[in-house]
């Protein structure tokens, strides 16, 4: 069997567009997940009703398949009057899912900052907010960085699932080219390699930041 590189070359433009959409969906989802995860992570440091409710959210989104969450949000929510465009549903699902993990990462990292760090700030008259933002958070982020980058890579790979909502991202493009050419091996190998290069680039970038931040 010959390896038909010409199919890939002929569809390079479409593939590039797919990569762009994948990166956009991933980046948006990650940003939303980061903010949401930080809020949930901080709120869950204290005990209380709110903390337990958020704990329920975290365990639900970690304990169910992303594909089902996607269906629930896009096809299920309209029944209770909450319908949204495909792209919004895709980003929301990925973000809610990832935020559940990120909140746990950040909660752990915040807990890893010694209590004495906060106390040193408090006796100098810094407010709780200033202490959190300038003293605790920068240290927690350093601890959390590798795991956060990992979350980004997870979203990148998981975003492949939003192809089921007919969002024309990298995986969907691959499927479309396949239905026209029936060259599964060339196409899916190329798609896989592109995902791999993207996640490796991110990992490499993170190793650099880590080294630069080393205390």
């Amino acid at each position: 069997m010959e390896f038909r590189t010409d199919i890939i070359v002929a569809n390079a433009g479409a593939i590039a567009e797919g990569v762009l959409i994948t990166l956009l969906v991933t980046s948006f989802s990650f940003l939303v997940a980061l903010v949401l995860g930080a809020v949930v992570g901080i709120l869950r440091r204290r005990r209380g009703v709110l903390s337990r409710l958020l704990g329920g959210y975290v365990s639900f989104f970690r304990g169910t398949p992303l594909l089902i969450q996607l269906f629930l949000i896009y096809y299920g929510l309209p029944s209770i009057g909450l319908s949204m465009p495909r792209y919004v549903a895709a980003v929301l699902s990925l973000a809610l899912n990832s935020a559940a993990y990120i909140s746990e990462i950040l909660r752990g990292a915040l807990g890893a900052v010694p209590k004495g760090q906060e106390e040193a700030a408090q006796v100098l008259g810094l407010t709780r907010m200033e202490t959190l933002v300038f003293i605790v958070f920068p240290q927690a982020l350093r601890v959390a960085l590798p795991a956060l980058v990992n979350s980004f890579s997870s979203i990148l790979k998981d975003s492949s699932l939003v192809s089921v909502l007919s969002i024309i991202e990298l995986t969907r493009i691959g499927q479309l080219i396949y239905t026209r050419t029936y060259r599964a091996f060339e196409i899916y190998l190329t798609v896989a390699l592109i995902y791999y290069v993207l996640t490796e680039t991110v990992a490499c970038f993170s190793r650099r930041i880590e080294r630069a931040l080393e205390i």
Binding site: Q117, E119, A120, L124, G125, L126
Partner: protein, 253 residues
């Protein structure tokens, strides 16, 4: 140089009771710490010394009694106005400089946030303070690039940056290698001579003897005996004080 030796009370602890669950750590504890004077608090481990320091600095709430700082009644840090927290600085046993900032930034941070200084002003202040503790050439070092003794000296400079009237030290040299203790005590002696009010919890009896104006011996959450260092060290009234001093001296020398 500082507020000056003056009459009056910097920290007035009156009948303070502090419990952790059923454990009574401070038991109607009362003591006065004078302005511009150095008071050393000694006592066995677990006698409530750290808890006392933490209650004074607002890191811990207490169940009964009152603590007055410079004539103003204070509760916990949360209800304490910023200006109030600034008047009493604290240096901890555990090294807790902020690791993501340089020595200079550690010192300059609070004056920028709390006193509204601009960056230039705060850095100049920080440089001067580093010079006071003998570390002008370490301004750009991160805490991990400093020895334990150097870190404690920067921590003292960090506390001084808000021009406090009184400093509370909770065993500032206990976490240090023996050869680094001297440099920290030297900075503290210097502050004391220049009229800084200090409350020092320590096991360094030599320091207590030479630098302090008053020694307080506490055990089981109450003051057992207090007085001038000569009196406590040379002629303690209680047998208990005597025993504690003997044991501590033997352990440390």
């Amino acid at each position: 140089m500082f507020d000056g030796k003056g009459d009056g009370c910097a920290i007035d602890v009156r009948e303070v009771t502090k419990r952790f669950g059923s454990l009574c750590v401070l038991d109607r504890f009362s003591c006065r710490f004078e302005k511009g004077r150095t008071t050393v608090v000694i006592g066995p481990s677990g006698s409530g010394k750290s808890t006392l320091a933490r209650c004074i600095c607002g890191l811990e709430t207490y169940d009964e009694g009152s603590i007055t700082l410079f004539g103003e009644n204070v509760a916990s840090l949360r209800t304490r106005p910023r200006a109030m927290s600034r008047r009493v600085g604290m240096i901890f046993q555990h090294l807790n400089l902020w690791p993501h900032m340089t020595a200079l930034e550690n010192i300059a941070f609070a004056p920028r946030r709390c006193l509204g200084m601009d960056e230039g002003e705060a850095q100049e202040l920080a440089s001067n303070l580093l010079e006071r503790v003998g570390l002008q050439d370490k301004a750009w070092n991160k805490p991990t690039q400093l020895s334990g003794g150097e870190q404690q000296r920067v921590a003292i400079a960090r506390a001084l940056a808000l021009s406090p009237s009184h400093l509370v030290f909770d065993e500032p040299t206990s976490a240090l290698d023996p050869e680094l203790v001297g440099e920290v005590l030297a900075v503290m002696s210097d502050l004391s001579k220049n009229g800084m009010g200090m409350l020092v919890i320590t096991h360094e009896m030599q320091f207590a003897r030479e630098v302090s104006d008053k020694v307080v011996f506490m055990a089981e959450g109450v003051v057992q005996e207090e007085g001038a260092p000569e009196k406590i060290f040379n002629a303690p009234v209680l047998e208990r004080t005597q025993m504690f001093l003997q044991r501590t001296m033997r352990r440390h020398y």
